[in-house]
């Protein structure tokens, strides 16, 4: 009935000022688009961290020097730093053979460094060269995509063989089959025997595919020297027993080294718990982004109020005419409220479109992940904003005195 007519009046009002309506809509569009897109970016970086956790394996423990940085990222430091007690393969051996750590399944000592690798004129820096046992591959969730892993025999005889990641393959070989080829790592020739399956993801932290894994003895012999190991990687029997394994390993280490807790030189860290911390950081980051976006949505809402106030002032005479012709208060209120809601809902719908389209692009290395609830939320908020911020001008219009409104020039 009359609702339809009031709608028609509202749309006519909007059409009368297309540019103004468009610009007001733009304010809401940017706000809603920003909310959706920024939440998607935050979610995307969170997902990247999650991918790293998954690729590491959730039951990985690392034994490191207390002073050392953590994880593979520590690979840039050399293996020769001075310390009173070295991490040695013997400790790894102790951890592997002891029967006091039932929750530990596999142990692998790790000596890591970074090298410059060359092949046939091509050169690249491999940021993670890992010397270890064949057991390291399952611990670090690596698998062989092509060729084969090195063997215990290779470790025993310090054969110069290496398994390389996809990034190294791309950088050095391009389309050439790398298996059987010899690369120079810091001028030491290594024969490529295998290629690791790509892990992908995590590009914002470090590339998990920029890696080379070789026998521990070979790496120590030719690259790092026989000082302290970088770390000892320990795999718990399952994700649930990681904490138990962590305390067992700590106890064993103290026992073996004869140290008290206060002079403890090694730390046993749970890699995935560290990344969980990183993830909570990205969540804070997401909340911050969303807050900024929400503020821009609020500013858009104030824009709606502003424009509607201008419109009401401009059309005071029209309001007077309508009232003289018997328009009830509700009809005037409805007309201006619908105009405001329409502005913000159209802006909201276009904002959703922009947000969804924008999140299909990779932004600063992060693939945004759309959160459906953020779309519903942003769109809903934009409609509520229209109602809320439109009610002040609409009330003003409805409350105008007909005589004064008619006299208005």
């Amino acid at each position: 009935m009359r609702v339809r007519e009031v709608f028609r009046f509202a749309l006519r009002g909007l059409r009368a000022n297309k540019l103004r309506s468009g610009l007001t809509t733009l304010g809401i569009l940017i706000g809603v688009g920003a909310v959706i897109l920024l939440i998607a970016v935050g979610q995307g970086s969170g997902a990247a961290v999650q991918a790293r956790i998954d690729s590491l394996g959730s039951n990985l423990l690392l034994v490191t020097h207390q002073s050392a940085a953590v994880g593979r990222a520590a690979s840039t430091r050399g293996g020769t730093q001075s310390s009173t007690a070295n991490l040695t393969p013997a400790i790894a051996q102790e951890l592997a053979t002891s029967n006091q750590d039932p929750d530990v399944s596999v142990v692998a000592p790790v000596a890591s460094t970074s090298v410059t690798a060359t092949y046939d004129g091509a050169s690249t820096t491999i940021s993670q060269v890992v010397g270890s046992y064949p057991a390291y591959l399952p611990i670090s969730n690596d698998s062989i995509a092509q060729g084969s892993s090195f063997t215990s025999d290779d470790v025993n005889h310090a054969h110069k063989v290496v398994v390389i990641g996809q990034t190294v393959v791309t950088d050095l070989f391009g389309s050439i089959n790398p298996i059987g080829q010899t690369i120079q790592m810091n001028n030491v020739p290594y024969t490529v025997v295998g290629v690791l399956a790509s892990k992908g993801g995590g590009s914002t932290f470090n590339d998990p595919d920029d890696v080379a894994i070789a026998p521990l003895s070979t790496v120590q012999d030719s690259l790092t020297g026989f000082g302290s190991l970088s770390e000892i990687a320990v795999q718990a029997t399952s994700a649930d027993t990681t904490t138990a394994a962590q305390s067992e390993v700590t106890a064993l280490l103290l026992d073996y080294l004869g140290e008290t807790t206060s002079t403890e030189q090694f730390t046993v860290t749970n890699e995935s718990s560290l990344l969980s911390t990183a993830q909570s950081t990205t969540q804070t980051f997401t909340v911050l982004l969303a807050a900024v976006a929400a503020i821009s949505l609020l500013v858009g809402g104030i824009g709606v109020t502003n424009i509607m106030l201008v419109t009401v002032t401009e059309r005071t005479r029209e309001i007077g005419i309508r009232k003289a012709l018997g328009a009830p208060k509700g009809a005037i209120l409805g007309q201006f409220l619908i105009e405001a809601v329409f502005l913000s809902v159209i802006g909201g719908a276009l904002g959703v479109l922009v947000g969804v389209v924008g999140s299909r692009f990779t932004i600063d290395g992060i693939k945004p992940v759309l959160v459906p609830s953020s779309i519903a939320l942003a769109f809903g908020v934009s409609a509520v904003i229209g109602l809320l911020f439109g009610s002040l001008p609409a009330n003003r219009a409805a409350g105008l005195h007909p005589i004064e409104a008619l006299r208005h020039e």
């Binding site: 009935m1 009359r2 007519e5 006519r12 009368a16 005479r317 029209e318 007077g320 005419i321 309508r322 009232k323 003289a324 012709l325 018997g326 328009a327 009830p328 208060k329 009809a331 007909p402 005589i403 008619l406």
Partner: protein, 263 residues
């Protein structure tokens, strides 16, 4: 003071009406006790210089303003007892306004302007279109329905306004200086329209300061300083408007009409 001896209440019945703007020393007495009874079918011209209170009276009669003291009954309804929502219904059903400055909605076609009171009155679809078209035909603008106000001459715009005023079949058509912005020819077109409307029974109150316009009415009222100083009947309520049919032939209205006092 019941008029005509009929059982139907008067279109307008005002008693001891006063209107004061402001308070204390700054108070302005716009109306100082007005009594007026307009029976149905009457055609009243209200004259007065500016500041005489005629605009105030127009606003009160049109239910756009409320009196300070005194009673007002429109078509038997006690206006003083109505709230705002009821007042808007009265304005919609009982009163048709014609303004000096036309007051058509801009960017809105003639048809849609005429339709407006019906929209607010809740008249729907085909019935609304039929009545709006009938009103436009009555004012001779059936061929201009889709024209916007800025595509119409002043006289045409005012005829659209008249069509809009009568489309709801109100008890009273209230015209405030309806010819004030029109040339002589358009003025007589519009006044001729009022004459014909009154001839078919519409009650009309015209506020004007032009005597030749006032001569179209059956009754002449002069306001001075918020009081009625002259209330003269020019022709009977039941009769024809005095100038009906004369508008078109009267080329020299001021000369031919003579003095109002002599009429």
């Amino acid at each position: 003071m019941s008029a005509g001896g009929t059982t139907r209440p008067s279109a307008v019945h005002i008693s001891a009406l006063t209107k004061v703007y402001g308070e204390g020393d700054a108070a302005v007495h716009a109306l100082r006790g007005v009594d007026l009874d307009v029976p149905h079918g009457d055609y009243v011209a209200i004259m007065g210089s500016s500041g005489s209170g005629k605009s105030t009276m127009m606003n009160i009669v049109g239910c756009l303003d409320v009196p300070t003291t005194g009673g007002y009954r429109l078509d038997g309804i006690d206006i003083g007892s109505l709230d705002e929502a009821q007042l808007s219904i009265v304005r919609n059903r009982k009163i048709g306004f014609v303004f000096q400055s036309f007051n058509l909605l801009p960017r809105t076609s003639a048809f849609e302007n005429v339709e407006l009171p019906l929209v607010y009155g809740g008249v729907r679809g085909a019935e609304r279109r039929r009545r709006a078209m009938a009103a436009l035909e009555l004012v001779g603008l059936a061929d201009r329905v889709d024209h916007l106000p800025n595509q119409l001459s002043g006289g045409q715009q005012q005829r659209v306004a008249v069509a809009r005023a009568l489309v709801n079949a109100p008890s009273l058509i209230l015209a405030d200086e309806p010819t004030g912005n029109l040339d002589t020819h358009s003025s007589y077109e519009v006044m001729g329209l009022f004459d014909r409307l009154n001839a078919v029974g519409r009650t009309i109150v015209v506020i004007t300061h032009e005597e030749d316009i006032a001569e179209h009415a059956k009754r002449f009222i002069r306001l001075v300083d918020g009081r009625i100083v002259e209330d003269r009947r020019l022709s009977p309520v039941d009769g024809r408007p005095p100038k009906l049919g004369a508008a078109e032939v009267s080329r020299y209205p001021r000369g031919v009409a003579g003095s109002v006092a002599g009429g």
